[in-house]
C-alpha cells in the first residue's frame, strides 16, 4: 500500500515536471504565430473581460493598500524630492531664457505640431493586469486589435515613454515596459544630442542604462533623455522622436563607452492609464 502511494506520488510529480519542460521547450522554440501562442492568445481573449471586471471591482482595495504603501514610501520620496526641487530651482533660472528662445524657434519651424503626440493618435487604455515577478515587466491593457492596436505600437503616459505593445488580442493587449529585460530603445541626450540605447538594469525598476555613448559625448547629471526616433541613419525606430524617457542620475566614466544611469519619468510601478500611439511614424497605422 505504501509502495503504491509512493509510486503514484512520484508518477504524478514526474508527469507534471515533464509536461512543464515540454511546454517550456516548445513555447520557447516556436514562432510568434505558433500553436501554443495561438492557445495563449485565445485564453487571453477569454480572460480579458473577467480581468477587466476584476480590475474595476478591486480598484478600491488596490487604492487602500496603495495608500499604505505610498505612506511608507513617502518619507524617502520627500527627501529625494527636496533635493530635486533645489536642483530644479537652479535649472529653472538657467532654462528661462532657453524656453523663450525655443518658443520662438518652434513658431518659426512649426515643430510643435510635429512633436505633438496628438498627431500619433493616442488611444487611452486602462491597465487591467500586471506581471507579479521582477522578471517580467509587462502590463495588460483593455484595448486590443478591435480598437486599432497593433504589435510594436509605442505606449506612453503623461510623464513619458512606458513601453511598446508586444501581444494583441481583439479586446486586450500586453505592453512590455521599458524596464523589461527584452527592451531596448534608441535614445538621445536632449541637451547634447548624443545617441545611445536605453536598456533596463534588471532588478532595479528605477534605473535604466543608456549604453554605447562615446567617451567624448557630453552628458551630465540632470540631462534629459528622449527617444531618438531612429535606430540607424536609415532605419526608423518604432518610437517617435522626442518622447521623454528619463533624467540622467549618474555617469560612469570607467569604460570604453560611458555608462549613463537614468531614472525613468513614467511611474512604471503605479500605472493606471496609458496611451497607445496608434499612428506609427510615416503616417501608417489605422
Amino acid at each position: 500500500m505504501y509502495d503504491k502511494t509512493v509510486r503514484r506520488r512520484r508518477a504524478v510529480l514526474g508527469l507534471l515536471v515533464a509536461l512543464s519542460l515540454i511546454l517550456l521547450t516548445a513555447y520557447f522554440g516556436e514562432a510568434a504565430g505558433g500553436g501554443l501562442h495561438a492557445v495563449q492568445r485565445g485564453f487571453v481573449e477569454v480572460v480579458a473581460p473577467i480581468q477587466d471586471g476584476a480590475s474595476r471591482a478591486l480598484k478600491p482595495v488596490r487604492d487602500l493598500f496603495g495608500w499604505f504603501g505610498d505612506t511608507l514610501d513617502a518619507k524617502g520620496q520627500r527627501d529625494s524630492l527636496r533635493r530635486q526641487l533645489q536642483q530644479l530651482r537652479n535649472q529653472r533660472i538657467q532654462n528661462a531664457d532657453a524656453v523663450r528662445q525655443l518658443a520662438e524657434l518652434k513658431k518659426i519651424f512649426n515643430l510643435d505640431h510635429e512633436l505633438s503626440l496628438a498627431s500619433y493618435r493616442p488611444l487611452t487604455s486602462r491597465v487591467i493586469g500586471r506581471a507579479p515577478t521582477v522578471w517580467y515587466s509587462t502590463v495588460n491593457v483593455d484595448r486590443g486589435s478591435g480598437d486599432g492596436v497593433r504589435v510594436d505600437q509605442p505606449v506612453v503616459d503623461g510623464d513619458g515613454l512606458v513601453g511598446k505593445v508586444t501581444f494583441v488580442t481583439p479586446n486586450s493587449s500586453v505592453v512590455t515596459l521599458i524596464t523589461d529585460h527584452t527592451s531596448g530603445v534608441s535614445a538621445r541626450i536632449s541637451e547634447s544630442g548624443a545617441l545611445g540605447v536605453v536598456q533596463p538594469a534588471v532588478g532595479n525598476p528605477n534605473d535604466l542604462l543608456m549604453q554605447y555613448l562615446q567617451q567624448g559625448d557630453a552628458v551630465r547629471t540632470g540631462n534629459s533623455v528622449v527617444t531618438a526616433g531612429t535606430t540607424s541613419g536609415r532605419l526608423d525606430s518604432v518610437f517617435p522622436p522626442g518622447i521623454p524617457i528619463g533624467q540622467v542620475t549618474r555617469v560612469d566614466q570607467n569604460d570604453l563607452f560611458k555608462g549613463v544611469h537614468i531614472r525613468p519619468f513614467a511611474s512604471l510601478r503605479t500605472l493606471d492609464y496609458v496611451q497607445i500611439l496608434l499612428r506609427t511614424r510615416g503616417g501608417t497605422g489605422p
Binding site: 507534471l16 519542460l21 513555447y27 485564453f43 493586469g129 506581471a131 507579479p132 529585460h181 533596463p200 532588478g203
Partner: protein, 188 residues
C-alpha cells in the same frame, strides 16, 4: 489525502480567483518598491492542507494560468509552482507541523524558492539586459512582504477549504477532549 469532488471544485475556484486577484490587484500595489506575490503563498497553503500530489497539481495549474494570462513563456511558472506545492505537501506528510507560525516560515521559504527559481530559469533562457545587484534587494523585499501576509493568506485558504477537508484525526481528538468524551479525567 482523498480529493472529493467538492474539495476539487473549491481548490479550482481558489486557484482561478487567486490568480485573477493577483494580476488585477495585488501585483499593482507597491510596498517598499515591490509588490506581494500571492501565488506561492496560495500554492504553499493548498499543499500544506491537502498534501503533495494536490499541491503539485494546484501549483502546476496556477503557474499555467499565470503564464497564459500574462503571456509569459509557458511552463516556467508551472515548473516553479508545482515544486512549491509538492514541497509544502511533503512537509505536511513527513513532519505534520502544528506550530502556529508554520505557514509564516513556509510562506517565506516558498517565496524564496519561487523567486530564486524564476531567476535560475531566466538566466538559463538568457537575459538580454544587464542585471543590477539591486535584484537581490528586490527578491529579499518580496520575501519579507510575502512573509508578512503569509498567515492571513493561509487562514483564508484554510477557511475556504475547511468545509470540504476530510476530518483531521488530531482535530477530532482535540474536540473529544474538550467536550469530555475521551478525557482520562472523565473516566477517573
Amino acid at each position: 489525502m482523498m480529493i472529493t469532488p467538492q474539495l476539487g471544485v473549491r481548490i479550482a475556484v481558489l486557484a482561478v480567483v487567486a490568480t485573477i486577484v493577483e494580476i488585477a490587484a495585488v501585483s499593482q500595489v507597491s510596498i517598499f518598491g515591490v509588490s506581494a506575490d500571492l501565488s506561492p503563498l496560495v500554492v504553499m497553503s493548498v499543499g500544506l492542507l491537502t498534501g503533495s500530489i494536490t499541491g503539485a497539481v494546484v501549483g502546476f495549474g496556477v503557474g499555467l494560468l499565470l503564464d497564459l494570462t500574462l503571456v509569459q513563456t509557458l511552463g516556467v511558472s508551472s515548473l516553479i509552482y508545482l515544486g512549491v506545492g509538492y514541497w509544502a505537501g511533503r512537509i505536511r506528510e513527513l513532519r505534520d507541523p502544528q506550530a502556529a507560525l508554520t505557514p509564516l516560515i513556509l510562506g517565506a521559504a516558498a517565496t524564496a524558492g519561487a523567486t530564486c527559481g524564476y531567476a535560475v530559469i531566466q538566466f538559463l533562457l538568457g537575459v538580454d539586459a544587464p542585471v543590477s545587484l539591486l535584484l537581490v534587494r528586490q527578491i529579499v523585499t518580496t520575501i519579507v512582504v510575502n512573509t508578512l501576509i503569509a498567515l492571513p493568506v493561509y487562514a483564508l485558504v484554510r477557511r475556504w477549504l475547511e468545509p470540504s477537508l476530510p476530518d483531521d484525526p488530531r482535530r477530532r481528538r482535540r474536540r473529544a477532549y474538550t467536550t469530555g468524551g475521551l478525557s482520562p479525567l472523565s473516566r477517573a
